[in-house]
């Protein structure tokens, strides 16, 4: 068997294989055996006819065709091994170059190759947006508005009041022939009069309507003209001038609760105002940190992707593309739409959609490849204990709202394996991101030099604890026990260990112990 390899541009390899004649002969005999089971030869029981008889019966061509299939299947693994390539997926049998000697051509997609840029050099300033007192106050005000008590006020409408009114509108015509153009039948409604600078775009019947009511008292009426803007969200009303007749029915003053401990207690289980504010601040901080982190990660990864050389076969892109489209489909399904309708409304066909999503898929492929490579480079792993824990947690949260039958189906081993696999990948990705973040922040240069990559991950273990491992105490012990048995798992174990011990020094000690 002679193999020639030729690298193609799109990260595939073309293998030209010359097959030995006895290999072909062997596969021919196999093929004959296979055929014998299918066809009837007079004088022989099915499957018992000898090679020569079969050959006479079906002819050389048919036999050759059949044997080629078998041959390809048989020698493909050997070819891959001998050519010393790492295939990403199944190769394609391209063509039959020559018959004598039998020469086959395969095109095999290669495993993606990533040459990372100096990812440890990537630095971005990490500036978490700070939560100001104002932000907290805004949230508090929002709470207060919701808790407001209303009281009828015997005075003209003021800002902050809740005004009840009757309104009707008709199309305004200069000659006064407006009878047919009723826009709004007379009806009652209410509005909270907004601050002058507040966002009033959600007001009905038109933007800034509430401001028109200021100064009117109960029973008073008013007519006013309003021209809808050209970019109004109601298409039929664009550029239409309407005449509104308004009558105030009631004015209610809104009394906002005082910002004090009592208010805090009314909102939930808060001791006092301070606790409430702290909670608001915490949740705001958490949210802003999450959004900022994901933005930051994007930035970092994009930078690394930019500098790295990434080679991948088109099949990989195709796979990712399918994933993206599938995700889109399931999102649509959640909204009660299906793909056909979506395509129709977008006025593109599936081909177009694929083309459109290609760049997205491309970036996703590149990113995940880069992340994987970094994870490999830095030995970022997830221990079994953690994995199991996380899987159980996820499983619980998923099955919580499921019917018994669904649960049963879900508990099947394959489903479990899938889930575990996904979670594993996710945890690992998360870790890698954490690591990258800490590097990009410039926190862990020291650790890099020490060639102890796992330490970085544990150094920013604070965050990690929140996101990945909620209860670390017990598994950490369990993991530590494991250490002696499996030196390979050191890396992960250290992490959880350090979470428990919370000090850099003792970390190192544990490593040494387990190594010894």
């Amino acid at each position: 068997m002679k193999i020639e390899t030729e690298h193609l541009e799109d990260h595939q390899v073309k293998l030209t294989v010359e097959v030995d004649s006895d290999q072909l002969e062997a596969s021919k005999r196999k093929a004959a055996k296979k055929i014998a089971k299918r066809i009837k030869v007079p004088g022989f029981r099915p499957g018992k006819a000898p090679y020569q008889v079969i050959r006479r019966q079906v002819g050389d061509d048919a036999l050759f065709e059949e044997s080629l299939e078998i041959l390809v299947q048989d020698i493909y693994p050997d070819i891959i091994q001998e050519a010393e390539i790492e295939p990403y997926g199944p190769g394609n049998f391209e063509n039959l170059a020559s018959l004598d000697p039998l020469t086959l051509e395969f095109v095999v997609p290669l495993m993606a190759e990533v040459e990372l840029s100096e990812y440890q050099e990537v630095r971005f300033p990490y500036e978490l947006p700070e939560i100001t007192d104002e932000d907290v106050t805004t949230v508090e005000d929002d709470f207060r508005q919701r808790q407001a008590v209303e009281e009828t006020a015997d005075r003209p409408v003021e800002t902050g009041d809740h005004a009840y009114f009757k309104v009707s509108a008709k199309r305004y015509e200069e000659e006064g022939e407006a009878e047919e153009g009723n826009l709004i039948e007379e009806r009652s409604s209410s509005v909270i009069v907004a601050n002058e600078d507040a966002d009033s775009s959600m007001e009905w019947p038109f933007d800034g309507f509430s401001r028109e009511l200021i100064g009117m008292s109960t029973g008073e009426d008013k007519t006013l003209l309003y021209t809808f803007p050209e970019d109004s969200q109601f298409e039929s009303l664009r550029d239409v001038t309407a005449e509104f007749s308004i009558e105030i029915e009631d004015v209610k003053a809104r009394i906002l609760p005082e910002l004090d401990d009592e208010f805090a207690q009314s909102l939930g289980e808060y001791e006092d105002l301070e606790a409430l504010e702290k909670d608001i601040r915490d949740s705001l901080e958490q949210r802003s940190e999450e959004t900022y982190n994901s933005e930051y990660d994007d930035q970092v990864i994009d930078e690394i992707v930019e500098g790295s050389t990434i080679k991948y076969p088109p099949q990989m892109l195709e796979n990712e593309l399918n994933n993206v489209i599938q995700q889109l489909e399931s999102r649509l399904a959640n909204q009660g739409l299906d793909m056909d309708i979506y395509l129709k409304t977008r006025e593109i066909d599936e081909e177009g959609l694929r083309e459109e999503t290609t760049p997205v898929a491309e970036t996703r492929v590149k990113r995940s490849l880069v992340l994987l490579e970094i994870a490999k480079e830095e030995d970022i792993e997830v221990s079994e204990v953690e994995l199991q824990e996380e899987t159980e947690r996820t499983l619980q949260s998923i099955t919580q709202y499921m019917s018994e039958e669904d649960k049963k189906q879900f508990n099947q081993p394959t489903a479990m394996m899938n889930l575990a696999g996904n979670i594993y990948a996710e945890l690992r990705m998360n870790r890698t991101l954490e690591y990258l973040r800490s590097v990009a922040k410039g926190e862990s240069e020291l650790a890099v030099e020490e060639e102890e990559p796992a330490e970085e991950t544990s150094e920013d273990g604070d965050e990690e604890e929140q996101t990945v491992e909620m209860e670390v105490e017990e598994p950490a012990e369990a993991a530590a026990e494991e250490t002696e048995e499996k030196p390979d798992t050191e890396v992960e174990i250290e992490e959880s260990e350090s979470d428990a011990s919370e000090s850099g020094e003792s970390e190192v000690q544990t490593v040494e112990e387990s190594e010894g």
């Binding site: 007079p42 004088g43 022989f44 029981r45 020569q52 008889v53 006479r56």
Partner: protein
């Protein structure tokens, strides 16, 4: 007058004959009804250029059977004479190659 070449009608290729050819060095032919052992021996020796050790003859009787799924129509297979030719050890006939 039957000539030498009319004696051997066709080789009989079945699972059984295949076994005989492979393990017993015996080759099975359908031969003309008026052939005798000597004639068959001569014929095989000249046509295939081999030495024949022994010839056995079986008269295969005619058989009647009904056609599949039809009780009325009778199918008849005529009788024929079958010769089992044993060659000297080490000699072979390639039945699939045909007459040389």
């Amino acid at each position: 007058m039957t000539t030498l070449h009319d004696i051997l009608r066709r080789p009989i290729i079945t699972e059984k004959s295949n076994y005989q050819a492979g393990d017993l060095n015996q080759y099975v032919f359908e031969v003309s009804m008026d052939a005798n052992k000597q004639m068959i021996k001569d014929a095989v020796e000249t046509v295939f250029d081999v030495d024949v050790a022994r010839v056995n003859i079986v008269n295969v009787p005619p058989k009647r059977s009904r056609r599949w799924r039809n009780r009325r129509i009778k199918v008849r297979r005529s009788a024929y004479k079958k010769a089992i030719v044993t060659l000297e050890p080490g000699e072979t006939i390639d039945v699939f190659e045909g007459v040389r």
